[in-house]
Structure formats: C-alpha cells, structure tokens
C-alpha cells in the first residue's frame, strides 16, 4: 500500500492491521516516533495524518492508504520549534518530545496559553512539569518573550 510520508510517496509491504507506529519505526526506519503507553493515553507516538495529530499506536496502517503522514523526521533537524524545546529545556528525558512537537505543530497562529494546554492535553511529560514546553511553543508562535517567560 502507498501513502505520502514526509512529503515523499512511499510504498510499504506491511500487514494492513500493523500499527502505523510499528510500520514507521520498523519498515520505514523512522525511529523518531516513540512508543509510550501503546494505548492512546500519552501521545508520545503522535504524528500528523492529513495535517491532524493522531496517535500512531492506535491506527492500523491500512487507514493511512493514500494519506499524508508527517513524522518528527519530516521537520528536518533544524526546525525553530526543535531549537526552542532545547533552549527552553522543554526536553529532558526526551521520550515525549517528538510527540509534543508534532501535537504543537498543528497549532494555529498566536495561541493563548490555554490553547497550547488544550493542544497538548493528549501528551504526557513526566520530567518538565510542562511549563518549559508551553514556553517553547508560545515563543515559537511569536508570543513575546516577556509573556511566554511568565508562564510559571
């Protein structure tokens, strides 16, 4: 079956009921997408399907036939949000980071702190206490330093 992966047409031979997560990691060799809980609770495996964040651990690969899939690798290594996660120390152990970034990337312009919290409500982080993550996302979206840095 075929789908578009990080902008390039891709064909995989996976079992149609294989999880998208496993196909990305095992067959496509894209190990940036992490498995956390494996049941849709933690968001570590978040990727975009047709522009919307989804848990790749829940999706049978047959359901992305012809769809547009973007993983953390699709952002390249130099995306401003990646730098902000580093600079604000929004990444500590790093397991949640790719999923956090893929959930945040779908946010519209000039979000409020509440918008950011809602967009990331499906992503769990056990290290940072979230504030550093919210700061990174707010700064990426052009919220002035003073406002973003005031996030407690």
């Amino acid at each position: 079956m075929k789908f578009v992966l990080n902008g390039a047409s891709t064909e995989v031979n996976a079992h149609p009921m294989a999880r998208l997560l496993d196909v990305l990691r095992e067959e496509c060799g894209l190990t940036g997408t992490k498995e956390g809980c494996g049941e849709g609770e933690c968001g570590a495996c978040t990727v975009l399907v047709d522009g919307e964040p989804v848990c790749s651990c829940l999706i049978p690969v047959t359901q992305v036939e012809s769809a547009d899939v973007v993983t953390i690798e699709g952002l390249g290594d130099d995306h401003p949000l990646q730098h902000l996660f580093m600079n604000e120390v929004g990444a500590q152990c790093g397991i949640c980071t790719p999923g956090m970034i893929m959930a945040a990337i779908a946010l519209g312009p000039t979000p409020t702190l509440d918008d950011v919290k809602t967009a990331l409500a499906g992503n769990l982080c056990r290290c940072t206490g979230y504030s550093a993550i919210y700061r990174a996302v707010l700064k990426w979206r052009g919220i002035p330093d003073a406002t973003a840095s005031a996030v407690p």
Binding site: R19, G38, G40, T46, E52, V54, L58, P60, A121
Partner: protein, 272 residues
C-alpha cells in the same frame, strides 16, 4: 503489542454499499477510528479477529440538517462535531462533551458512531444522546431501521444491532430548553469518566447519566418528580433510588452516588 498481528484479518470498504454487502455475506467486526481497537485486543477483551474497516466511507462523515432534524453521520469525529456550526447551534452540549473526550489525537479519530456502537456505560457522548432522545439509524444491505438510543442498549456492552448492520447516522430532533453537560473524571483530559451527566431543562426535564448503571440511563422518575414540582432535595432522593452505581477500578459506588446527586443539584441550579 501483546496481540499477534498475523492473527488479524481486515477488508476495507470504499463505500457504504460495499460495506453493507460485505457484512451481508461475511461476519466481520466494523472498525472506524480504531481508538479502542488495539487497546481492547491487548487487554484480551475483544474476541473477533476479522474486521471491516469503514474509515474510508466518506458518505458517513456528513453532518447536516434534514428539516428540523440534526443528522450526524456515524463517522463524524469529535473534532468535526466540535467544528460543526449545526452541532454548535442545535446541540451545544455535544460540542462540550466532544471537547472532553481524550485529547486532540483521540478527538481526531474517535467517531460518534463508534462511541454508540462501543456501548461502554462510560461513553461520554451517550448521556447527551439519551437526554435529547436521539435516534440511531441502522442499515443493512436490505433494510434501514431507526432505534431510539434509549432502546438501543440491552445490557452491559450489549445492543440491538445485528451483525449485518452498520450505524449510518445519529438523528437528533429539535431540543427545547437549556442544555447542560458535566463529566467528572480523574483529570480534565485523557480520563475515562467516573460519572457523566447530560440534562435538558424544560417543562419536563430530561436527564441522562453514564457510569451509574450497565448502560447509559435516563432517570424518568427523577424527571417526573422535578416536573411535578418536587424540591431539588426530594428529587435527589428519588435519583438515589433510581440509579445503581457500582465499585470498579475508576471509582466507588458511594462516591458515584454522592457525585450523581450533587450533579443533579448543580444542573438544577445552573439551568434555573
């Protein structure tokens, strides 16, 4: 993954007609947004190994007005319910309920038809649908029938659906009166409800609870007592005799009973 993928088998349907033909000839379990599929397989609570993927059936995604009736296609996701102007104007408490399902990732895949078919007593949308007397539209290759949501469930995780049928839509008649929804879980997002309630404040109020019985339930005696002019404390007494919450891994019967009666009071105060 605890489940061997090689045991699983799936066919995909591109259209409703094709899906119904497959179900007529072959026993398969439909899957839509699949948000519970691997969870249930890995927990050992899902027996079937042969599936019918209906996610590609775009004709089941439509949310529209049919006269005065709001018709929601079975594959409408929570995200599309949140974004729909028809749902916002006709059934705003369904928008509220949809926002409280999982997180955005689940809202992007989970469907209203899936929530109904899944038949969990904790399904977040179900009290909303029960409180407004929504109708489940079922179709097989040969026939279509309409079942009120309050008659759809026959017991814990059991429904009147036949194996050759699909839910194609949920129909919501016009709703008079103020709508109210509240979910109580461990945290705001990503929590399965301990208790969930939806109400419509009208001359005869309509109130439905989830997670207090084997299925979603209306509470007709409580509704009648309020309509007859009982005080809210009297009605809370009626409610406590009418529902049968249980202890389970998410909460206790005692806690649920106390919260249910408190939610009834809150509904009455906030919609008064």
């Amino acid at each position: 993954m605890r489940t061997a993928i090689s045991e699983l088998e799936v066919r995909s349907a591109a259209s409703l007609g094709e899906a119904l033909t497959i179900l007529r000839d072959d026993q398969r379990t439909p899957i839509a947004g699949a948000t519970d599929l691997y969870v249930a397989l890995n927990f050992g609570t899902l027996e079937p190994r042969r599936f019918l993927d209906i996610w590609p059936v775009n004709e089941l995604r439509e949310i529209s007005m049919k006269g005065a009736t709001l018709s929601i296609g079975a594959l409408a996701t929570y995200t599309s319910l949140i974004r729909s102007p028809f749902v916002a104007s006709r059934l705003p408490m369904l928008v509220e309920a949809s926002r409280q399902v999982g997180g955005p990732q689940i809202q992007n895949r989970g469907t209203l038809g899936g929530n109904v078919a899944n038949a969990s007593p904790a399904g977040d949308s179900l009290p909303v649908l029960a409180a407004v007397d929504a109708v489940v539209v079922l179709r097989s290759a040969d026939a279509e029938r309409r079942v009120p949501i309050t008659k759809f469930y026959t017991g814990y995780r059991a429904t009147v659906m036949r194996s050759n049928e699909l839910i194609v839509a949920i129909e919501v008649p016009p709703v008079e009166g103020r709508q109210w929804f509240r979910k109580v879980g461990t945290r705001a997002a990503q929590a399965i409800s301990k208790i969930v309630v939806a109400g419509v404040r009208a001359e005869v109020p309509r109130i439905a609870f989830g997670s207090v019985a084997p299925t979603v339930v209306r509470v007709p005696e409580t509704e009648r007592s309020l309509a007859a002019g009982a005080t809210i404390e009297e009605a809370a007494q009626v409610l406590s005799r009418e529902i049968t919450p249980i202890d389970d891994l998410r909460s206790t019967a005692e806690y649920r009973m106390r919260v249910a009666t408190n939610l009834l009071r809150r509904f009455w105060i906030e919609t008064g």
